[in-house]
């Protein structure tokens, strides 16, 4: 039986997403309009957002760059009490860095293709 050459590649599975179980948000990259970011929102699909936009359970978009977008969200009284009860230092704000999905490198051994990336 003839056979094609076997190729081995990497499958990278990562979970870079923010939000709760109902609405997960991931960062797809900078938007076409300067100063915007494209997010993949599990409830509303792909869309552009800009600094000042507020996503429920994630926070207010504060910064955008090539690799990540950053949200600020004040902790609720309930969350602050959880931190206090657990003996932790109690933050006023949670600053969330939402990374852009990891990217594969091009090079690999001869006969092997590039890695594929999939996000949860």
């Amino acid at each position: 039986m003839n056979s094609r050459a076997l190729q081995l590649v990497a499958l990278a599975l990562c979970a870079a997403a923010a939000g709760d179980a109902r609405a997960r948000v991931s960062y797809a990259g900078p938007g076409r309009t300067t100063g915007t970011a494209v997010i993949d929102d599990s409830e509303r699909g792909m869309r552009e957002i800009r600094p000042g936009d507020v996503l429920p359970d994630v926070g207010e978009l504060r910064e955008i760059d090539e690799h990540e977008i950053v949200f600020d969200r004040p902790l609720s009284d309930e969350e602050r009490e959880q931190w206090r009860a657990a003996g932790g230092v109690v933050p006023d704000i949670q600053r969330v860095h939402l990374y852009r999905r990891p990217t594969p490198e091009d090079e690999s051994t001869p006969g092997a293709g590039a890695a594929a990336i999939t996000a949860d």
Binding site: M1, N2, S3, R4, L6, Q7, L8, V9, A10, L11, A12, L13, C14, A15, A16, A17, A18, V58, H67, E68, L75, Q82, W83, A86, G87, G88, V89, V90, P91, D92, I93, Q94, R95, V96, H97, L98, Y99, R100, P102, T103, P104, E105, E107, S108, T109, G111, A112, G113, A114, A115, A116, I117, T118, D120
Partner: protein
């Protein structure tokens, strides 16, 4: 005790910016008769300055942080650059005020400066000095120049001293006169002296901490690496590079040790669900001491934390290195100096890597290929094999690198973490700490064997990954929990934020197969690995 002593010494530097301390003008304010007044009345200058400090009206800035080679230089360099020399030569005090007549102002006995050189009289109307007052009249100030030998700057104090009520009359009669000091003199003096008190204090503080070193990542990129097994792991070895950055001074042989600061967490694992982890107050792990010296070029060092292991499931990590031993420059030699430096690195990050070659994909369907006879591998009956694998890896190595092409071939001697090999449905798991915003994860096996063909080939791949960030910072008066938004996902029964797997390439050509692979049986089993014990 060290820092209390440092504070007390700085207090003395600040005292030296008060002219009564540097012109032997006692001002203790103790009224006990047994002191015969030798301790002097309370200082009106200090009361005036304290009142301004309490009401927030003092200006502390405007003078550079002083840099002098020896501690005593901050008081006295013998050439005028010490703060005691400046306050002594530029101001008068209540009991070391000018003498002589108005036409022949003389310096106080024993204090040649300030003096009549460059002195001028300034007459100012009381109504101007004190807006709204009912008083009338003119005040006469004696102004003198000042010169700052440290900065080389000079200026003119228009209110160094003041004529008293009787100065003019007594002066006309040729009688000895007295000059006085008041809040107008004190105001001018404090404007000149307080910024210097701050600049000299900051300088002495810097001098105390002048021994500095810089930390950089090791050639092997990861500062800390640990196997991760059954949800547990500890870092027992810290690798980094260090160089001496102390200005003008070199170390001899002394003692080096490293400190790792971190925050343990509750409620959730920082490795798996960092956004839900509640971070505690910092904890510290201290390495075993080792003998050594610091060089101007980066040198690799490895610190042993076996006696004080660092849990992998922590956040807000920073590393510090301290040297204690001789420190010498052309101007001083200290036998027991401290040289210190630190670096805020990113948080421990869990990566699973494994072998999923027990499945291949054909027309969007996954096929289990273990023990699959060759007759069942040509699915379309065209005489060509359609399904491959499983594949055994003989040696499996992973390594962290900067973005870009490989810096060295990945093998047993250059890996951050190594496994003897991986069969299909097996994986390795490790935790590492690095310091860059993003990095390249490399995974290689020098020899793989396809059970279906017997063919050998090497395997190498690389993936760019983001850092793990999970720390408490203070920003604009607020406490901020800064955290990366990722969480663990399950892949064939193993849980981690990142799973890098070797698969047959047909799998990644089909999104259906990709989506199905994390849920196939059998579940992965873990293979124990090791952190190669070679130089960093």
């Amino acid at each position: 005790m060290t820092f209390r002593s440092l504070g007390q010494v700085i207090h003395v530097v600040q005292d030296a910016a008060q002219p009564q301390h540097t012109r032997n003008d006692s001002h203790a304010g103790v009224t006990c008769p047994y002191t015969f007044g030798l301790l002097g009345p309370a200082s009106l200058f200090e009361e005036y300055v304290e009142g301004k400090a309490i009401s927030g009206k003092l200006n502390y800035s405007g003078y550079p942080t002083v840099d002098l080679p020896k501690p005593r230089d901050f008081w006295d360099t013998e050439d005028g650059r010490g703060v005691a020399e400046f306050s002594n030569r530029s101001f008068v005090t209540v009991r070391t005020n000018f003498t002589g007549t108005p036409n022949d102002v003389q310096p106080a006995p024993g204090f040649p400066s300030p003096n009549a050189g460059g002195a001028r009289l300034f007459k100012e109307d009381v109504q101007t000095l004190m807006p709204g007052t009912t008083l009338t009249g003119v005040m006469t100030f004696i102004g003198t120049p000042w010169s700052d030998s440290y900065t080389g700057a000079g200026g003119y104090n228009t209110r160094t001293s003041t004529y008293s009520l009787f100065t003019s009359d007594l002066g006309r009669r040729g009688s000895p006169v007295e000059y006085s000091l008041n809040t107008f003199n004190y105001e001018n003096a404090q404007q000149i002296l307080i910024p210097r008190a701050v600049g000299y204090s900051a300088g002495l503080l810097n001098h105390f901490f002048r021994g500095t070193l810089e930390i950089a990542a090791p050639d092997r990129y990861a500062y800390l690496v640990s196997p991760y097994s059954n949800g547990e792991g500890t870092f027992t070895k810290l690798m980094l590079k260090v160089r001496n950055t102390t200005s003008g001074a070199e170390t001899g042989t002394g003692t080096l040790l490293a400190i790792v600061r971190y925050r343990a967490a509750s409620a959730s694992s920082p490795l798996l669900y960092p956004g839900y982890a509640i971070l505690r107050e910092p904890s510290y792990a201290i390495s075993a001491p080792q003998s050594g010296s610091l060089t101007r070029d980066f040198q690799p060092l490895t610190f042993d934390f076996a006696a004080s292991p660092i849990p992998v499931d922590v956040a807000d990590v920073s590393v510090m290195v301290a040297f204690r031993g001789p420190l010498s420059s052309s101007e001083y030699t200290e036998k027991d100096a401290i040289v210190f430096g630190g670096k805020d690195v990113y948080e421990p990050q869990l990566i699973n890597f494994g072998n999923s070659s027990d499945y291949d994909c054909y027309q969007d369907a996954l096929y289990y290929v273990v023990d699959r006879p060759s007759s069942q591998r040509d699915l379309n009956q065209d005489g060509r094999q359609d399904l491959f694998g499983p594949v055994q890896e003989i040696g499996a190595y992973v390594r962290l690198q900067p973005y870009g092409p490989p810096t060295v071939p990945l093998g047993a001697q250059t890996a951050n973490y190594a496994l003897p090999g991986l069969f299909w449905a097996q994986y390795g798991s490790f935790v590492s700490v690095q310091d860059q915003d993003g990095y390249r994860f490399e995974y290689a096996s020098p020899d793989t064997v396809d059970a279906s063909t017997g063919g050998h080939r090497s395997f190498f791949t690389a993936v760019n990954l983001p850092r793990s960030i999970n720390r408490i910072v203070e920003r604009d008066g607020q406490t901020v929990h800064e955290v990366g938004a990722y969480s663990a996902v399950s892949y064939r029964g193993s849980s981690a934020p990142f799973h890098i797997n070797m698969v047959n390439d047909n799998v990644i050509r089909s999104q259906t197969c990709i989506n199905g692979l994390p849920y196939v049986s059998p579940a992965f089993t873990e293979v124990a690995g090791s952190v190669p014990d070679t130089a960093n």
